[in-house]
């Protein structure tokens, strides 16, 4: 293995370690929310520091690679993609922490009925599944699987879009649950962001593998159509 290959594979290993850590945070954040497990929630928040250390370390590794090895082509794309995936992982970790902070102070689980009507749990599970599959896509360089994320994110968006009306309706009939309702709404909003961040990661995988830029594609198309009208 030549020198730069060793550096690049070291970078990938580091990123996978961070990925595992954030996956643990996200999974635990879900479990803590469902079971009102304060202990677990505190653990997730605590892990944030470790994730931040990974974030800084990976940024530094990328900086060194750029400065010392001046990578080009596929190597350059790997470093650039890693920088962005790293940033998105860190944000997803933050979200898991944010959700856990809500849970930390709860004595009992969230009202199952409200979770049911908002679809919050299936949303959480899909976000987790996407996160896992995205990791597999990165590891196996599978751009088809990465592309699938772009579609799957739409399900999360759908649940998010419906959520305010559902919760507003629910609260109208159950005014005692306002605080709880707002918390669930905030969690749903965070999960919607997680979907976006997983999509960002998927786009970086495609860029790295195929040298294709897929982000902002649909927006641009709409804009072009808009210009014509």
């Amino acid at each position: 293995m030549n020198h730069i290959d060793a550096e690049l594979s070291g970078l990938k290993v580091k990123l996978m370690e961070m990925w595992d850590l954030v996956e643990y945070q996200l999974q635990s954040g879900r479990d803590a929310m469902v079971n009102a497990d304060q202990e677990l929630a505190r653990k997730v928040v605590k892990l944030g520091k470790k994730v931040n250390n990974f974030d800084v370390k990976i940024d530094r590794m990328c900086e060194n690679l750029l400065a010392l090895y001046t990578p080009v082509a596929v190597d350059l794309r790997l470093v650039l993609a890693t920088l962005k995936i790293n940033a998105n992982l860190e944000r997803i970790g933050d979200t898991a922490e944010g959700i856990s902070m809500y849970v930390q102070n709860r004595k009992e689980p969230y009202n199952p009925e409200m979770l049911e009507v908002t679809n919050a749990i299936p949303m959480f599970d899909e976000a987790l599944a996407m996160f896992r599959d995205c990791r597999v896509a990165y590891k196996s360089n599978n751009t088809d699987q990465a592309r699938a994320m772009l579609k799957r994110d739409k399900m999360l968006n759908k649940i998010y879009r419906k959520s305010d009306k559902i919760i507003a309706d629910y609260l109208r009939n159950n005014p005692d649950s306002i605080e709880e309702g707002l918390a669930i709404l905030a969690i749903i909003k965070k999960l919607e962001r997680v979907g976006d961040q997983i999509t960002n990661i998927a786009e970086e995988i495609i860029f790295y593998q195929d040298a294709k830029v897929v982000k902002h594609k649909s927006k641009k198309k709409n804009k072009d159509n808009g210009d014509k009208e």
């Binding site: 030549n2 730069i4 290959d5 001046t70 990578p71 080009v72 082509a73 596929v74 190597d75 350059l76 794309r77 040298a211």
Partner: protein, 254 residues
């Protein structure tokens, strides 16, 4: 944006050193007033190809070419082309600075004197103008009658470029022009190449991949006598099409 016209073009070019097939079916068109870089491992044919562009290989025993090289649409290997006339059009700068053991002034005006120009005023003006183009004038204007060999390596190389420019070529070929220079002199030459492309068509052979990235508009990758890939430099260094190009530019050759 309108496309620049092609200055130099090779069509089905094959070159041989005796039985050795050094260039295989090269087809390439180089834009006017742009910088084209040739990259590739040693022995890939890039220098041979560069040298065919002003017929520097003509006197090598057993060397022969087939196919066409067009300069402004005219085949430079045509019988009615005079090599000395061709070289007025197509100047060349080599890897190691090779000033003549003469004064700075004599070096710059050497080509003009060969052409029979004797007018001192004309020569002095040409010398100054060429030295200004290579950003050397301020450094050597008080040393015009000193030996060129007393200049630093970087200055000598810029002097050689000035010498090439003095005869007003339209194409300048550079064969690894900075490989014998320190980083500062290299940076100066690269700056110079960037400036010169406003007026000249430049073709450069370089082993320094980053240099190709910095100075050229188009890059051609040669391997075993073949032109593997030729594209915008930006494309070559971000998303080359061929695996061999990628392996070469990322340093994973062989």
């Amino acid at each position: 944006m309108s496309k620049k016209p092609y200055k130099l073009e090779a069509r089905n070019l094959n070159a041989y050193y005796g039985g050795f097939h050094a260039l295989k079916d090269i087809n390439i068109a180089m834009e006017e007033k742009a910088v084209t870089a040739f990259i590739g491992p040693s022995g890939c044919g890039k220098s041979t190809f560069l040298r065919t562009l002003n017929r520097m290989n003509d006197y090598i025993d057993g060397f022969r070419v087939e196919g066409d090289i067009l300069l402004d649409g005219r085949d430079i290997y045509n019988k009615d082309i005079r090599v000395d006339e061709l070289r007025k059009e197509v100047g060349m700068v080599f890897q190691k600075p090779n000033p003549f053991p003469k004064t700075v002034f004599e070096n710059v005006v050497y080509g003009l004197k060969i052409q029979g120009i004797k007018d001192k005023k004309v020569l002095a003006e040409a010398a100054e103008s060429s030295l200004r183009k290579t950003a050397l004038w301020e450094e050597v204007k008080d040393k015009m009658d000193k030996s060129a060999l007393a200049l630093s390596g970087g200055q000598q190389q810029r002097l050689c470029i000035a010498r090439a420019l003095a005869i007003s070529p339209s194409v300048v070929l550079m064969d690894e022009p900075t490989s014998a220079l320190d980083p500062i002199s290299t940076a100066k030459i690269e700056e110079l190449i960037y400036e010169l492309k406003n007026d000249y068509t430049i073709v450069i052979v370089t082993h320094n991949m980053q240099q190709a990235g910095r100075v050229s508009d188009q890059t051609a990758f040669f391997y075993m006598g073949e032109l593997v890939e030729y594209a915008k430099t930006k494309t070559m260094f971000t998303s080359p099409k061929h695996e061999r190009t990628q392996n070469y530019i990322t340093g994973r050759f062989g």
